[in-house]
């Protein structure tokens, strides 16, 4: 116990944290500018008239045009402040809040790497990543620290390691390993790539990609932790993520986020060498303090971290509480590092019935949803219920008495022909959102 405590509390170089803070701030700033530049603020947060909220977070509302731009401005500014290390603690708190709020506006936009950014910024709130090479210590040199307790670097490594490991675990399923699906479906669409394009139709390539991906995800964290394999493992990280960026440009910033974040696995010497390129030699040779929380804070934060990682470990397994198959029902799918795991697409027709008159109104989804929202909703049961509830309200406002909402949906999963997805006899507007297994999704059949 004491040995573990000592191991966790031994002082190590603060520099991995410093690089992490700087690269995190930089890539966030870049991502926000890119998002803005691409016009996605408009298309994802302003134009839609209906938003799919998260259970328990229905109070999260879009902020309108001005509000949303201000929110992104705040996000961008706080990312910049984190990058330069000015007013760090307040900046990272505001970044965490504004970023998480934005992501919670619409389930449609859920991406694992957005979730990753959210929880990493939460962790960063507790870490003194502004104690070196930051405007904060320039203004107040007394705050400068050269070392921190090991666990402060360790939590970031653990978090990164969990992302990789759970992503690897998720790949250990029949379709991925035995059938090489979805790779078999996705790769022929990449035949435009120079040199290797022709290989994309080959079956063995799909198998190689699937197996390599699984082995990489499962093992990379261990190789990154090991002192001897570390540099080579990091080269593998760069190679792997460059590959994914090249093959799947649609995953956006994710490869770059992972390439930069994985630097945290490298030790203090590497980071000193890296930072020296910018700061010069003398800066790191000056004597400075060793960061330490006071006893109470230390215990509180460690208790929080323990609880946090316990929850992080359990969440990816919550799918076991629901009937299989996970890919069909998607109950317990999100927040579990299931990244690029399946090929699923669907199409749903909604019908609003007026029981009194027997009149039936077919819904034009394009009237209420963006194409992206419609696509995401069609394969995800909780979104289907939310949309049905919304339709009920809309048609009530259109003076339809006691509207009932029914749907006919079809979903094609992992290359199988599309199958009926929704029980067309169930009034979806009467279905409640809950943690229970959904009743209106038809059983999966091969």
């Amino acid at each position: 116990m004491t040995a573990t405590k000592n191991w966790l509390n031994r002082q190590v170089s603060i520099t991995p944290l410093i690089t992490f803070r700087i690269t995190f701030g930089a890539i966030m700033l870049f991502s926000i500018l890119r998002f803005w530049w691409n016009g996605w603020i408009e298309t994802q947060y302003i134009r839609p008239q209906f938003y799919f909220t998260y259970m328990g977070f229905d109070w999260v509302k879009p902020l309108g045009a001005t509000g949303t731009y201000l929110l992104f401005l705040l996000m961008g500014l706080t990312a910049l402040l984190v990058l330069i290390g000015l007013w760090y603690r307040i900046a990272i708190i505001l970044f965490f809040l504004s970023f998480s709020y934005t992501e919670m506006i619409d389930v449609t936009n859920y991406l694992n790497h957005y979730y990753f950014i959210s929880i990493v910024s939460l962790l960063l709130i507790f870490l003194p990543a502004n104690r070196l090479f930051a405007v904060d210590v320039y203004l107040n040199p007394a705050k400068k620290c050269n070392t921190v307790p090991f666990w402060m670097v360790g939590v970031l490594r653990l978090q990164m390691g969990m992302v990789y490991f759970f992503a690897g675990l998720a790949k250990l399923n029949y379709d991925w390993m035995v059938e090489a699906i979805p790779m078999k479906i996705w790769l022929p669409a990449k035949s435009h790539l120079p040199l290797i394009g022709a290989l994309m139709y080959k079956e063995w390539v799909a198998y190689a990609f699937s197996w390599f991906g699984a082995i990489y995800d499962l093992s990379i964290a261990f190789f990154l932790i090991n002192r001897i394999t570390r540099p080579y493992a990091y080269i593998a990280v760069i190679g792997f993520h460059l590959f994914t960026a090249l093959f799947f440009p649609a995953i956006g910033m994710f490869p770059y986020v992972m390439m930069l974040s994985s630097l945290v696995f490298l030790d203090g010497k590497f980071h000193q060498a890296l930072l020296r390129l910018v700061a010069g030699h003398t800066y790191f040779n000056q004597a400075a303090g060793a960061y330490q929380f006071n006893r109470l804070n230390q215990q509180l934060v460690l208790a929080f971290m323990g609880l946090y990682f316990l929850v992080q470990t359990l969440i990816p397994f919550r799918y076991l509480l629901y009937p299989a198959p996970l890919f069909w029902y998607e109950e317990g799918y999100r927040f579990s590092w299931r990244v690029m795991l399946m090929e699923k697409s669907g199409n749903t027709f909604f019908y609003v019935k007026e029981p009194g008159s027997g009149r039936v109104f077919e819904v034009n989804n394009q009237e209420f949803l963006t194409p992206q929202q419609e696509r995401m909703m069609s394969t995800q049961p909780d979104m289907i219920i939310r949309y049905a509830h919304y339709l009920k309200k809309v048609y009530q406002a259109r003076r339809i008495h006691h509207p009932e909402v029914y749907a006919e949906g079809y979903v094609a999963l992992n290359g199988l022909p599309s199958k009926p997805f929704i029980n067309p006899k169930i009034n979806l507007s009467a279905q409640k959102l809950s943690w229970h297994h959904v009743q209106f999704i038809l059983p999966f059949s091969k």
């Binding site: 139709y201 995953i251 994710f254 060498a273 699923k344 199409n347 039936v360 079809y410």
Partner: protein
Amino acid sequence: MKANKKIYLILIVLLCTALSCGKSNNPVDEPVTNGFDKTAMLTNYADNLIIPGYTDLQQKLQLLTPAVNTFLTAPTTLNQQAMLQVFKTAYLSFEKVSFTQFGPAETILYTNFMNTLPATTNDNSDLQKIEANISSGSYNLSQNITVNQQGFPALDYLLFSANTVQQFSAANSANRKKYVQDILARMQDLTDNVLSSWKNSYRAQFIANTKSDAGSPIGYMVNQFAYEMDQLKGPRIGWPFGKQSGGLIFENKCEGYYSKTSLALAIENLSSLKAYYIAAGSGKSFSAYLTALGKDQLNQSILTYFDNAINKLKAVPDPLSASLTNNKTAVDAAYKEIQILLTVLKTDLASALSVRITYVDNDGD
């Protein structure tokens, strides 16, 4: 220690190169594959379907101009009948390019200006706007808000609605005549514009890009299969049929309602879509692509569903606007087949080709 430092330096250099080269665009050139030649498919689409489609429409519109002018000069029922045949041919020809709303057509919102559906809204506000334009004589047809005051639907109304002959015979019909000519001239301009863009620059871009992501030609075309099917199920048939209005029928929402060409247009639209799918059995089509991917069963289903939907549409008695009330069973049967075809194109085809039906670019994982 020294060795360690070297490794670190290598790592730093590697990371920097990775970050910088990752940002640049990779050159796109299609290697010869033993799987499926996408360049040949795209070339086939450009040279044998799309460009000939626009060329044909350009010619049909050129023939329409004198026929319309003859009628405007001498507005008789006989001239109207002669003009109807030419109008119909041009409208049917348009259905062959309706699918190609990407590249130059997308840039200028070609399909929107040529054929925004439905042609009238519930309160006929489009028709009121057209009439207002005519009486004021001042309008700017290049504004996006005027999409439903021009194109084929506006011509259909102006040339073939009930009192047309009297209206054009009236003494004060100069504005009305000018409006018809302006619309027609604009349709020709837009078509010439798209065709020349295809010939001069876009064809090369189109066949050179064999990606399947958002904004790529393959991505666009798969999206258009879904879009055209949505249009067929919605504004072309479903909306007039009262599918969204609790059974309340809006026959005047039919495409080509006044010229009574609705059914022919729907059949031509769907047949053209099938033609784009199989590309005359050339082996350079989406149909062949699916087969090359080992998805022949899906390909066969799609072909069957196309034929089912086309046959059921052909079984609906003409004109469609009357059948909406008098032959509901036949319309319903066609509608059901359209829905089946829509689902297989939007879901199975898109999924098999790794194309996202989103019409926009965004991140995913």
